[in-house]
Structures are given as structure tokens and as C-alpha cells.
């Protein structure tokens, strides 16, 4: 490719050469894995930490466990800075990058509305819908990236959403933790190692 492209004066390409250039160039962008898994891992661990801490506090009969969730806006800032920096170094924006952004922007809006207004229907309904949103966002992202661990992992969020309806308030935090470990943290780490191996390839 290198030698042929350098000599652009040669207009006498035969059709096979044309097709070779098209194939090589199209595959360059197509096979690039678009996500490094950072946000999945970061949010997976952060929310799991908060949920488990809240669980322990509830079990110890201490008041004010909900304050641990104040880490969420902080997480938003870290995530935002990372995304901003990543965008700056990104030289190419694929359609896949764009689809994934829309999925997660939609997810954030739905999450915010669920947390803001869901309480009207009780805490159980809120957690149920949260886990459905976790599952839906990772299911779609897994589909777009064609990354099976994320698709299968997302099913655990749906499953634990159902389980959460039948357990007490404290145990709902265990459901959230389990959903995040299986839908975000594990597939997130797998995605990251695949991304890194691609970078070194």
C-alpha cells in the first residue's frame, strides 16, 4: 500500500488494484474497536461500592446511608473529564462512536428522570427501573460493538431487576451490586483487554 499510494501520478490502476485499495481502507476503520471500556469499569466499581456501603450501613442500623450516593456527581466529573480528554486525542470518529454516544446520553437522561421522579412510585420501582436501564444500555452497546460478553452480561441486569422486586430494601443493594459486577465490571474488563491487545497489534 505504501509504495503505490506514494505515487499518485499513476492513474493507470487496474480494477483489481482499485478494489484492493477500497477493501484495505474500508477495513481499516471497520475493525477498530471503538470502546476502551473505561466508563463501564469506572461506573461499575463506583456504583457497586456505593451500593455495598449502603447495604452495610442499613444492616448496621445506622442512619444516613444514602449520603454515600453523593459520590455520583463526583463520578460524573471524573467521567466527563476522561471523555473530554479522549475526544481531544481521537483522530477519527466512526458511526459506531456516534451511536454509542446516543445510547449513553439517552441512558443518562432516563436515569436522571427515574431517580428524580421514580420515587413517586416507591423505592422498589425505582431500583427495578434502574436495573432495566443498566441492562438495556449495555445490551444495545454490546450489540453495536458486536461484543458478546457485554450482550450476555446485560441479561444479568434484567434478571436482577426481577429479583429486586421480591426482596427487601437492603437486599436490593445486593441486587444492584450483582447486576453491575456481571453486566459492567466483568464485560468492561474484557472489553478493555481486547481494546488494549488491539492497540498493541
Amino acid at each position: 500500500m505504501k509504495t503505490t499510494l506514494e505515487n499518485d501520478l499513476n492513474e493507470n490502476m487496474n480494477p483489481e488494484e482499485s478494489l484492493h485499495i477500497i477493501n484495505t481502507m474500508i477495513n481499516t476503520a471497520k475493525n477498530k474497536l471503538a470502546d476502551d471500556g473505561f466508563h463501564l469499569i469506572f461506573w461499575g466499581w463506583l456504583v457497586t461500592f456505593c451500593a455495598l456501603t449502603h447495604y452495610v450501613i442499613l444492616k448496621l442500623n445506622i442512619q444516613g446511608g444514602e449520603w454515600v450516593w453523593m459520590l455520583m456527581p463526583l463520578g460524573g466529573i471524573v467521567s466527563g473529564i476522561y471523555g473530554y480528554k479522549q475526544g481531544k486525542t481521537q483522530k477519527v470518529r466512526t458511526h459506531i462512536d456516534s451511536y454509542i454516544s446516543y445510547v449513553w446520553i439517552g441512558f443518562i437522561i432516563a436515569l436522571f428522570l427515574t431517580l428524580s421522579f421514580g420515587y413517586a412510585h416507591g423505592i422498589k420501582a425505582t431500583y427495578f427501573f434502574l436495573m432495566l436501564l443498566y441492562g438495556m444500555a449495555t445490551f444495545i452497546t454490546g450489540g453495536i460493538l458486536n461484543f458478546k460478553p457485554l450482550i450476555y452480561g446485560s441479561l444479568f441486569s434484567f434478571a436482577f431487576a426481577i429479583v429486586s422486586v421480591f426482596v427487601g430494601e437492603a437486599d436490593q443493594f445486593l441486587c444492584i451490586s450483582a447486576a453491575l459486577i456481571l453486566s459492567y465490571i466483568i464485560p468492561g474488563h474484557m472489553l478493555r483487554s481486547k481494546f488494549k491487545s488491539q492497540q498493541h497489534a
Binding site: 500500500m1 505504501k2 503505490t4 499510494l5 506514494e6 505515487n7 499518485d8 499513476n10 492513474e11 490502476m13 480494477p15 483489481e16 488494484e17 482499485s18 478494489l19 485499495i21 477500497i22 484495505t24 481502507m25 474500508i26 481499516t28 476503520a29 471497520k30 481531544k88 483522530k91 477519527v92 470518529r93 466512526t94 458511526h95 462512536d97 456516534s98
Partner: protein
């Protein structure tokens, strides 16, 4: 047979640029340069030709005080690329 081929696309570097852009939403000049292994001078000339033909859009921005050139394929460019591929495919089909 090759007379039907679009002369704008029937050039190795321009075809490579358009093939890259067809698969992405947008790409920086430096990305195109890396992927096509071309020189900055030659690449500039070729993207200018593609722009004049209406096949691509060029957006110039500043990133950390450095100029940044972003290229995007247009609808006209996609159509021209599809037509080009069709002519090539027809040529490569076994003759009856």
C-alpha cells in the same frame, strides 16, 4: 471499459481517502495521512480536489491552539463512490 470510471476517484490516493471516509463519520487530516502513508503536501492537494468536486467537506478548527482539519464525506461523494464500485464490479464479473 475504464473510460466509465470517475476520473476524480480513479486515482490511488483520492480513492483511498474516499474509501476511508465512507466508513466513518469524520476523520482528521493526520488520521488520513497515517492511514494512506501519504505526504502532507500530496494529501492536501488531493483533498482539495475532492472538495472542489463536492465529494467531501472540509472543516478547519483549532484544537489547543493548533489548526485541525476535519474531513467528512458528502452525499454526492457517497453516490460517486457507489457508482465507481459498481463500474469496477461490472468489469470484474465474468463475461458471458
Amino acid at each position: 471499459m475504464l473510460k466509465d470510471l470517475d476520473p476524480i476517484l480513479h486515482s490511488q490516493l483520492r480513492l483511498a481517502i474516499v474509501s476511508l471516509l465512507v466508513g466513518v463519520k469524520e476523520a482528521e487530516f493526520t488520521y488520513l495521512k497515517e492511514q494512506t502513508n501519504s505526504t502532507a503536501g500530496n494529501l492536501s492537494v488531493q483533498i482539495q480536489k475532492l472538495k472542489e468536486a463536492g465529494y467531501i467537506e472540509i472543516e478547519k478548527k483549532f484544537k489547543d491552539n493548533y489548526p485541525q482539519t476535519i474531513c467528512k464525506i458528502t452525499k454526492v461523494g457517497i453516490k460517486a463512490f457507489e457508482d465507481y464500485v459498481e463500474v469496477i464490479q461490472n468489469y470484474l464479473k465474468p463475461k458471458k
